[in-house]
Amino acid sequence: MSWKWNTAKGARLMPQIETQIDPEFDQEFEQVLRDFRANAHAWSEAAHSRPRRPVVRSRGLRLAVAWALGCVLAAGGFSGAMYEHHRREAMAALQALRAREAQQQKQAAQERAADEDLLAAVDSDISREVPAAMEPLANLMDEDTGQ
């Protein structure tokens, strides 16, 4: 250890810097840090001396995979956007067609109603303009329809 140990009083072994910056630094905490250090050293030595695996993920391969993935994502995004665009266009055309049909139906109904009104008006106009001589006959027709 290259720490500077405070051994002036001989009772406790604590690094000087730690006691300066951290008043709560005690022997128990120091021991934990020593264990942490020993753990890291032992782990690193074991990892350093382990048999090396062949490096499968080279930088080039990773770059190629990243590019391929990027291209797939871009193509997927583009085709998705195209599909959505076409779908929306078709939906809009269908809606326009339906609106036109509804408009035409409404117009036809209005025309039919206007025709009926006109016919009724003509009918009543004609019935009112019956000559006085024909009135008894008209009365008879009314009675017939009433029955």
């Binding site: 290259s2 720490w3 951290d22 934990v32 032992a42 690193s44 990773r62 995979v65």
Partner: protein, 201 residues
């Protein structure tokens, strides 16, 4: 610069009378660099392993660190120790890695990271009883867990101090921070680790 340094050494040793050729200076520098790699590789790897808790990533970053060092070996003026210089490169590589990881979601990520249980497995038993050993392992595991809650700088400073046994001045040299800032980060890191050990994260 590198040629000049190598040349001076050979002349001082008195082994070469005629002026050095560029080729022999290159060889000399390569040998010198090989010695540096051999002596400092375990420390750099240990620091990166503790920082990332990922064996493959630590190995890759260690290789990148020495590759970068090799490319810039000619510019190393010896103003700091080789270890401080290498550690600075390692810290920067590690920083770059975390920064890039945030941007590139498909990149090799924390999936390979070793879990806390496995990390704390490697603890020399010494003269402890099985119970004491188990307790110590648990404590070490808590320290690893606390590390996850530290900021990047706090973690770096903490590791350099308690795993690499570096003095504050060395840590300041490796991180590019002032000693006062190093002290402040270390103090905060210790506080957080202690809180984790007391069960108050």
């Amino acid at each position: 610069m590198r040629d000049k340094r190598a040349s001076t050494r050979v002349m001082a040793a008195g082994t070469a009378v005629k002026p050095m050729t560029a080729e022999s200076a290159e060889e000399m520098a390569a040998r010198e660099f090989a010695r540096v790699v051999e002596s400092h590789r375990p420390q750099i790897f240990r620091f990166l392993l503790a920082s990332t808790r990922d064996l493959d990533l630590a190995e890759t970053l260690t290789q990148e660190c020495f590759l970068k060092a090799h490319r810039n070996w000619g510019r190393f003026r010896g103003e700091s120790s080789a270890m401080t210089w290498l550690m600075r490169i390692a810290i920067n590589l590690q920083k770059d890695h975390w920064r890039n990881r945030r941007m590139q979601f498909w990149r090799h990520t924390r999936a390979n990271a070793v879990d806390l249980d496995e990390a704390s497995e490697w603890l020399p038993s010494g003269e402890r009883t099985a119970e004491q050993q188990m307790l110590a392992r648990e404590r070490v595991q808590q320290v690893w867990k606390a590390m996850e809650g530290l900021s990047e700088r706090q973690r770096t400073v903490f590791l350099l101090r308690y795993i690499e046994d570096q003095e504050l001045s060395e840590i300041a040299g490796s991180t590019g921070l002032s000693e006062g800032t190093v002290k402040a980060h270390l103090s905060r890191a210790l506080g957080k680790v202690r809180a984790e050990l007391r069960g108050k994260p």
